[in-house]
């Protein structure tokens, strides 16, 4: 057998890499095509020139700018609340002694067994009772905290040596100050992982906002896109522009912080 001038693994990886990334490239390129060009046969990958009609239609004729803003608000609130609530709870379960701790932690862990479809109906009814149907709150309340986040932070704090905190406590530092000024700064890697997890979950969430929000001006990007897919089935450049808007923020974040994303993806394993 003649030896290849390159590793045979390239023969597997190159086509595979293209298979994974080309649809995304086509998505971006198609958003810059005219609808006539998209309907041509045979189909083209590269636009003849930069047509902005799809983008113009998306930004001017739909509420997409509003949806983008809504998505940003929902993700920002989700990530902030998730970090605050899960880090304090993780610390409480890891370090503090209090009545009912065992039962409370068990209850939190048990929730990972409950599938989302079991929760759809009662959650919708609950949101209706507390009056947050058709508000952005319906999109971020499900992501304020999670069993995964609490568990992740608890495991992290358990792995920290307790001596540091003990010294501070003996010096008369209260629990809260010890947590904020000594423990939390050490928890940056775990917090970053949790932030990525929450960002992915809340930004990409479709089901919760879909069932709880029907007012066009309160849609997140995912809901807005899913909705006008049915009604504007032929305006592909506009649809693809919307897709770019919905995916690019996370793809850019991924490209900038790939290591952190990959660490989060492999850690999601803790959830099971």
């Amino acid at each position: 057998m003649r030896k290849l001038p390159f590793s045979p693994w390239h023969l597997l990886l190159m086509p595979l890499a293209l298979l994974f990334v080309l649809p995304l490239v086509q998505m971006v390129l198609t958003s810059f095509m005219s609808n006539a060009e998209i309907n041509q046969f045979p189909p083209k990958l590269i636009p003849s020139s930069l047509h902005l009609s799809g983008w113009r239609a998306l930004l001017a004729e739909t509420s997409a700018p509003r949806w983008l803003l809504n998505s940003i608000i929902v993700s920002a609130v989700s990530v902030t609340a998730h970090l605050a609530l899960c880090s304090t709870a993780g610390y409480g379960f890891a370090r503090l002694r209090f009545a009912g701790r065992g039962v409370a932690f068990l209850a939190v862990v048990a929730t990972v067994m409950i599938p989302i479809q079991l929760l759809m109906i009662p959650t919708y009814l609950m949101f209706a009772r507390i009056g947050i149907i058709d508000t952005l709150a319906a999109a971020f309340v499900p992501w304020l905290a999670s069993a995964f986040g609490i568990f992740l932070m608890r495991q992290f704090f358990l792995s920290l040596p307790a001596e540091l905190e003990e010294a501070a406590l003996i010096d008369g530092c209260g629990r809260w100050r010890t947590f904020r000024s000594i423990v939390l700064p050490l928890a940056r890697p775990a917090l970053a992982t949790l932030a990525v997890f929450t960002l992915l979950s809340s930004w990409n969430d479709l089901l919760w906002p879909l069932i709880a929000i029907s007012d066009d001006s309160r849609f997140t990007l995912q809901v807005g896109l899913a909705g006008f897919q049915g009604t504007r089935h032929t305006e592909w450049s506009q649809l693809m522009a919307g897709n770019v808007l919905a995916t690019m923020p996370l793809i850019l974040a991924f490209l900038l912080a790939q290591r952190r994303f990959v660490a989060t993806m492999s850690l999601t394993g803790l959830k099971g």
Partner: protein, 306 residues
Amino acid sequence: MAGVTFALARPLAAPRARRRLDLTGWAFAGPATLVVVGLSLFPAVWAFFISRAKWNGVAPGVPVGWGNYQRLVQDPDLLAAARHTLLLTVLFVPASIILGIVVAIALNQKIRLIGFYRTCIFVPYVASAAATGILATFVFNPQFGAADEVLRRLGVPAQQFLESPSQALFVIVLIALWGEVGFTTVVYLAALQDIPRELVEAATMDGAGRWRVFRHVTLPELRPVTVFAAVWQTITAVQLFDLIYTTTRGGPLNSTQTIVYYIYELAFQTQRLGYGAAAAYLLFVVTLLLTLGIIWYSRRRGSEVF
């Protein structure tokens, strides 16, 4: 249980000091616990009561006992949905695991462009399932989609893909794999890098070829990860919703109607809340048994399987 042992182990502090400790503890752990339990355990229990009533969410519900469940067992739509869900799971789970292992091994090589390959293969995972579904309807479009164009160049006649009742579910499995293989790959890549180098070296020194090292050293080391990945991907497959909502909405001719999508339709399109909740409970029990089954099976088979 943990709470009881813990109460005994606690030093006998003065009641007031103890109460202060309890307060501090709950101040830290309480808010998140309240959110998580309030948004899952509480509604899950509520769903059970809803499942025993005939209710459209507006008029007062009529208690029907186990009536909803009895009707579900004979519901042809539910049976069809269960069949679709099962087929989807049986195709998706092994494929995502095998692809994950193969791609992870390839990405674990020290060759040029490896960073580029990794980025390309992981990137679809961060794209939302909703956007992936919309992109897929474009790529698999029978009129001008890229998929048919590739087939045409290979001399294969054009296919209907998502618009064909006999193909749609398989296309959805492919799309789901495109979006999820990044995840299994990352998990396996991490596991591969955790295998002690000495193990592989020792086997090679003893004269084992590449394939035997893989078969008898690498695969057994990946077993725990495989159990996790199987459970995780099963849950993903059984709960698949976004992708179906943004591609076929259960069609054509209900051929991609999965159980979760069916529940969504029952509850939010036809307002049959009690019946929908009962279907959700039934699915919950089945998934639970399935998950336990996978764990039990892989434990029993031990290293023979992986």
